[in-house]
Subunit: 731 residues, 2 copies
Amino acid sequence: MTLWHVSEDIFDPAPKKLHSQETVFSIGNGYFGTRGTFEEGYPHANPATLLFGVFDTVPIAGEELANAPDWTPLGLLVNGERFCLNVGTLLSYQRTLDLQTGLLLRTIRWESPQGVRLSITSERFASLADEHVGAIRFSVTSEQPVDSQPLEISLWADFNTAVGNYNLMHWETMAQGEEQGLVWLQSETKHSQVFLAQSLSFTCNRSDYRQEFLPPYITPCIRLAGTLAPGETVTAEKVVVMFTSRDTAQPLHAALAHHHTLSAPTSPAQGQIFATLFEHNREAWTDFWRVSDVIIEGDEKAQVSIRYNIFQLRISVSPHDDRYSIAAKGLTGFGYRGHIFHDTEIFMLPFFTYVHPQIARDLLLYRYHLLPEAREKAHANGFEGAQYPWESTLSGEEMTPPSIIHPETGKVIAVLNGFLEIHITASIAHATWEYWRISGDDAFMRDYGAELILSTAMFWASRAEYNSHTNDFEIRDVVGPDEWHEHVNNNTYTNYMARWNVCTGLSILDWLHATDPQKAQELATSLGITPERLQHWQDIGARLRVLQDPQTKVFEQFEGFFSLEPLDQSRYQGRKASYQGLLGVEEVQKYRIVKQADVLMLLTVLLDNFDYQTKQANWDYYYPITDHDYGSSLTPALHVILASELGHLEDAYKLFMKGALVDLEDLRGNAAEGIHDACSGAVWQAAILGFAGLRVTESGYSTDPHWPDNWTRLAFTFSHKGERVAVDLRK
Amino acid sequence: MTLWHVSEDIFDPAPKKLHSQETVFSIGNGYFGTRGTFEEGYPHANPATLLFGVFDTVPIAGEELANAPDWTPLGLLVNGERFCLNVGTLLSYQRTLDLQTGLLLRTIRWESPQGVRLSITSERFASLADEHVGAIRFSVTSEQPVDSQPLEISLWADFNTAVGNYNLMHWETMAQGEEQGLVWLQSETKHSQVFLAQSLSFTCNRSDYRQEFLPPYITPCIRLAGTLAPGETVTAEKVVVMFTSRDTAQPLHAALAHHHTLSAPTSPAQGQIFATLFEHNREAWTDFWRVSDVIIEGDEKAQVSIRYNIFQLRISVSPHDDRYSIAAKGLTGFGYRGHIFHDTEIFMLPFFTYVHPQIARDLLLYRYHLLPEAREKAHANGFEGAQYPWESTLSGEEMTPPSIIHPETGKVIAVLNGFLEIHITASIAHATWEYWRISGDDAFMRDYGAELILSTAMFWASRAEYNSHTNDFEIRDVVGPDEWHEHVNNNTYTNYMARWNVCTGLSILDWLHATDPQKAQELATSLGITPERLQHWQDIGARLRVLQDPQTKVFEQFEGFFSLEPLDQSRYQGRKASYQGLLGVEEVQKYRIVKQADVLMLLTVLLDNFDYQTKQANWDYYYPITDHDYGSSLTPALHVILASELGHLEDAYKLFMKGALVDLEDLRGNAAEGIHDACSGAVWQAAILGFAGLRVTESGYSTDPHWPDNWTRLAFTFSHKGERVAVDLRK
């Protein structure tokens, strides 16, 4: 094992393990992601290829990323026996994902039911250099005794159209064909009418092998066949090119033309392009890691796992498509259906803002483009400005279902988040501000960011309710980040962030007046920012209620939280479920127990707004009553920023590893549904903003390392106002 | 056109027509049904093969018949061009379903995009003689000019696993292979763990054609390839055998062994077995029609369509499997998910009771086997005895979802039928009684029927509520057959049938005491039929409220129906939707408008219990206020029994044809979802119990023909107490 490798050397066919490892060994390039299923198939496997922003309609949940025809199938028949790990004997097995190059490698020694021994190697990558390309190299070596007969080998490559999101099919085959050494498949989503063209070439290194194009009804196929003497190897290459109607009006034409530029496969079977394609891909990953790597010395597990999380962030987003953003599970699984939550802005965006500002800009443009729909949502709810949906997809409409029916009990369960979990609107404004602060991208702020911040400020100003008894403003009936407490009033996170949003609206307007008065005037006119409204914003800024004990400095999570019953957590030792799962949705609301950072998230997101004593007091209060193990996966690693600043290094390290290993070790038992991308983002923040203590100000940056004892070095780069800064901290 | 043929001679690719004709041209044998999709495929086609009683789990709706891997795919490549009706030019087209033999025939003349002219014939049947067998014969003739080059022909046959119920996939491929001239596919349902083995042979009549077994990853395939000179024909035969784990513990072994008994395909490609298999199938259909045919002379449309409906009844049920019954759409579509309603007992069962008593017996045994679950449902609702579910599948549990979420609006819609539409329990008891009355099968009544009738009687006796003010019994808060009025009290249909059920319980107990005292004693003990309970049954029989105007003899459909607002139907002329659809679920309840026969269904089901005057008065009252066009499809044809008795022959004929053509002419626009099997049953009843006026009594039978003017002959057979009776009525 190197510090770039994620490996397994035992194949565990138990479905739970099979499916979680499919997630762990996903490959991708942001244009598409492909789960780590085997080329030859396996019973109950969940193959999936999800394309960035390619959705189809589903009942209740609106739309979901539509699992595309599987491009990875590659079959092997030896003397008439089909290779599959559920038959014969597995003599040795290793699978490795090389984070440095995105290559997924599997090496196997296998004995067929009839006793034929083979060693088999498969290599697979999604090209980071050419995002439409996926490639597989598949080598078979005869381990038969020297004096035995040559083996009859047949290899074939095709597509699997019999796939769905779990069981729901989204694509229909529209056409298929063969052309100049390629076969191709054209599919269309069942409802959203996205077209996908996939072309396929399949060649090998042996001139004595026959290549044949097979046009079965279901999916086109290419077969290679020949013999293999003892000790000999045949190496086949399957290359697939994918284009959709989101890329071009003629995806089939684009796929075929592009595929032909990659190679001119020569008859009958030869044509080695994998190595060249891989070299380009490797270079692109090298470029990526040059700026993105975080070096941790002294802790190999931390080193590999932070790279793994950075790798996940990269493969979850296309670097030049601002029509879609990063889903909760990226492109690696069906969980949360490809919907976008505050996970992106709060948890993942800082990595991009600091390291890949161009991608951060696209992710924010995604939100900017959907301002009209956010305005509609605000308007429909009786408010002004722009209110972002809790779950967002391509349309910008609220995609949180208002209710679901429990699939087993048949009971109707109301889902309140789309109505009440409103803090996301401030999170998006805050991410916009942060991007500007770190990148110094004034043009972005002028052309897009200001309008977004002003529109969201306007939402909050209309959402806050004046209380004439107390002569202040309130925000009632919400769900805060701690989703276990519903219909709460004056959630501190929500109110503080709302106030921040409104005040930031005022200051951004000042900035715009100073730097581009015409644009400022245009925006004020188009958005209806009247002097009266500005006065109201001032009032909100001065008098929006934030609940804090002036003695202890502890914020009250929401009105009445301090009076809830304490929960005796010692009674639940050894539990394997969240407190909500154990107590029930209704019962848990009565207790002073928190799903995930809420007040502490506020103190983290607006880190510079709070003094040390406030942080310490709130940490001491909230840290022990948060369910770090089975609450949300989002915040364990995010806690590290406060924990390291406050010197709780043992806790900080534990929280960091809980985040870093959430999928690698399937800590929550749900890795099968896809990578916890928010967690990946939090892990980066934990290392850089936490352990390294990076703080960027107008004038420059500082670090304040507080890291685990065994760590000897922490090095990384970030981009500050267009300049790349390399930080190398050593003990 | 003969009087046995359903044909189309234009291919209309509009999706609505495509999908409704897929239903119309379904084939089947009761073990499986296969929709009339094309062998070569067509964009947006809905191929489906549903197997009798083969279910898989679905969210909300419990379980549904699981669309199996499509066995029909057969592709043709000519000079490298793929045959499909969406390319090239269709020169002529005809498709015919031969009801006499179950053969689906398609003849086409087609010019490829490159100008190659072919005539193509496909023939397909599901063997009625050997229910595990489906077969296709596919002939291609070159219509090229005499002096042109031979064509390169490639034909291939495989399975399509990329199918679902609409988009929901139910099967997973577990294994596949090749063995002695066959390829095979083994699949398993995703949840219910039913195994399905499908074996496939593919041969042709030309010794110069190469046969090749292709093992692509997705599905196994056999290819035939050769050349075709101008004027020549190649004829290929695809034969598929299917067994499931519901048939045998080793379905794959069974399929392969059975397939080998059909044929010994000789290398490379020859082996003509279609003709032999078809001959056996034809004989089986001849046997069926010998007793099942209804001859109508003087009205060709009526003649063909009644045969079509009888054909549908036959292909919807396996004649030797009492673990499942006939679904609302048989095995021809996804509508109602294969669930069983009162459609079977009220509408379809009379055909089987009169014509195929052995099948009727199995259908009733299905209900008998599920008595334990019906007792559980009664118990869970606080009642005694057995209460059958409104929607039933294999488990016997209530499969009506308690609520659904509207897929577009997201609104939760309560579904009351599972709670309130309780009359089905009496319908099942009544069907049991009728079977006994017509068949004289005393052993069945003693061993099964009596227990069912007594258990359902016990349910009604406990369900009826005593009203001390009026000193009678009521059944409150139900939905009657007219589902547009919910939460009604004392629905006449429900109350009258309940009373009938209780009284029949008393008389069947008397009969049992007289004929088998020991069995009577056993049942009384095991069911808890105490003297007190029997007294209570007597009370119910005497005093269960039935609302009838003593002056007019008109029954009131339910309490308060007479006082509802009348609906001015003249305002809705030219409508294309039901009154419920136009007025809304809430609004329609206020009106005196009826979805389907309710009081009139009572008068039909218990035909001999009412005098002519009562029938006439109720007909005059209810017939005009029933939505015969867009209400339920169930009852138009059922009305014919009363209509013909009352001499309304013009209405009777209109109603008969509305039923007979509901799918053939897609009268309700929903034939795509599958055949209206209840309607098929009602059409048979309309002809025999309506137009022919057949009445069977203890001593014999009588007829009282009242039929349309142009009909000159009506002939049929039925089985009375084990004797086959042929009736031949002529003008």
